[in-house]
């Protein structure tokens, strides 16, 4: 397989964990809450998902357990930042550390065990296209579902009453409350949704993308997902684009090694991180655009 085919075949799957987590965080941030604990929630989802999928040989149950774990830990976050109106940066870090710790605590007994991944499905018609068809359009079901979720979220956030409520709560919580919306309840639901998505994202990484358990396997993908939300300037479509870019980048390490290019693997491993910093700078330096898109109440506790 040549390098182009390899990247076409792999980038969607590589992008999926980051994309799932970033889409969840998009909803959370649109409601005005910043959850920095994504990395830890993904780690928790990865270990719970692996343990259940390993025990039951059923991926769906693994994903359900991971989503449940993600919801549970992000509800703790919700209590701290909504109930107690605490600093969201500090609370996010606390939840991140807690999630990372729980993940390795639970996963300890499963170190380096493996399970089977999911079969690839070829999309009818599209997979018959020349060149890109057999590679790009042959993916496991979660990849396709994730893209569907992205479309659904775009539609829901921009063209539905629910989306309008979430955005109102994020842009101006006091006005939203004045016209009768329950700000804290909306935010709590958004946080729970974000937690479920991050949990599923982790489980995809540990049970489908690389179906084995290794402590610390999330390896910064939760942080990249957080950066993706900023790159995408809080729009689902641009977040998908960013995730695909990072999916392709993360495969670069393998392709250049296969091509026999003599670059130390550590340099290649840094590429996604360096690109994250540069992209962040490129997008954020347009201050006018950032001001237009940034959620007005992001990170600020709400109290009457």
């Amino acid at each position: 397989m040549n390098a182009v085919d390899f990247i076409l075949a792999g980038m969607l799957a590589a992008a999926t964990p980051m994309l799932l987590a970033a889409l969840g965080e998009l909803v959370v941030e649109r409601s005005g809450v910043l959850n920095l604990g994504l990395e830890g929630i993904m780690a928790l989802g990865a270990s719970l998902g692996f343990i259940v999928a390993h025990g039951t040989q059923n991926h769906a149950l693994g994903f359900a357990a991971a989503a449940g774990g993600g919801v549970a830990i992000s509800l703790i976050f919700a209590v701290v930042v909504l109930g107690f109106a605490a600093n969201q940066v500090a609370a996010g870090l606390a939840i991140g550390i807690l999630g990372t710790g729980l993940s390795s605590l639970f996963g300890k007994a499963y170190e380096s065990r493996t399970i089977d991944g999911l079969p690839k499905l070829a999309l009818p018609l599209l997979s018959d296209l020349p060149v890109v068809g057999p590679t790009l359009f042959t993916q496991d079901i979660v990849v396709w579902l994730t893209l569907l979720v992205a479309v659904a979220l775009w539609a829901a956030l921009n063209h539905s009453r629910l989306g309008l409520i979430i955005r109102a709560v994020g842009e101006n919580p006091h006005a939203a409350r004045a016209i009768g919306f329950r700000v804290l309840r909306v935010r709590c639901a958004a946080i729970a949704f974000g937690g479920a998505m991050a949990g599923i994202a982790g489980a995809y990484a540990s049970t489908v993308y690389t179906p084995l358990w290794a402590d610390g396997m999330i390896a910064g993908r939760g942080w990249i997902a957080l950066a993706l939300v900023v790159f995408g300037t809080w729009a689902a479509g641009r977040i998908v684009f960013g995730a695909l870019l990072f999916g392709a980048l993360s495969l670069g390490e393998l392709t250049t090694q296969a091509a026999g290019v003599n670059i130390p693997s550590q340099v290649l491993a840094c590429v996604p991180y360096v690109v994250t910093i540069l992209m962040l700078a490129a997008i954020s330096s347009n201050r006018r655009r950032m001001r237009l898109n940034t959620i007005a109440s992001l990170g600020q506790p709400f109290s009457r």
Binding site: N87, G101, K108, I277
Partner: protein
Amino acid sequence: MRLALIRRDRASRRAMVLAPVLAFGLSILASLALFAVLGKSPGLALYALLLEPFLTWYNFSEVLLKMAPLLLIAQGLAIGFRANVFNIGAEGQLVMGAIGASAFPVFFPEATSGLMLPAMLLTGAASGMVWAGIAALFRTRFNANEILVTLMLTLISVQVLNYLLLGPWKDPKGFNFPQSVRFPDAALLPILLPGTRVTIALLFALAASGLAHVLMRHRFSGFQLLVAGLAPRAASYAGFSARRAIWVSLLLGGLAAGLAGAAEVAGPLGQLQRSVSTGYGYSAIIVAYLGGLNPIGIVVSAFVMAAISIGGDNAMVTADLPVAAVWVFQGLLLTFYLCGLTFIRHRVVLERAKPRARP
């Protein structure tokens, strides 16, 4: 009827003291319950985590050894946190500090010069500053979020460490282990307490605490930083700049973490190895918050966190608990503390249904 938070007119001193104490108690209870569920003995875990660090002089000295980097880094970070500049990449600045300091003994392994150690500490501190300075540059020049940039820089620093230890800086006589040569005596910090591994790095940390206290309490510059972080617009009217607050916060945070990294390789490790990155930079974030971002409070919280981390090492042996147990405990501690913090500025009241306005 429902519960509601009402803002207090002034901060409650009682809540300020009670919040960390209660958070500590609740974290203990929650972790013991969790360990019991996982089939570990809660009694043994409690003994290992809370008592063992204080039962022998050697264990206690190890607590002081761990306290030094935690205290130093946390004091540096707290300056930024007070000004709402969130440097969460102290771990990376520590790694770069360790690398910078190690350059001297790696290139001059036979040196006996008395200049070696000062040069290492200076380079270590400068490396940490440069690493944090990148984030300050990106924040001030390109408006890039410092949380994400410092975190990405940490992930990069670990790769730099791996590259050096697996390649150019690997000890040729080290049986292929990923570690540098062992440092000569001239590259090692003097021991502070004879018979232990505690070096004079503890004095650096205590001196930094004193400096931070003076800076915050008695100097106008501390006040400027605080205002610039909390109310950038007000600060700019008064003529102090948010830009400067970002630079000062990140550079001082990087300096402290870099120095801590240098003191690790020149202290307990005695060489550059992967285990220089064991999470001090992350734990220090918790230390800074638990200490109420107050220089004196941070001394207490650094001691407590160091004790727990030694307790965690003991618990691996005594109670068969993995290292991750300490992370769980730290996460719970910060979570509970943040909840408790609310009561410093708010009080809880039972609110009846809203009374109708009388005509």
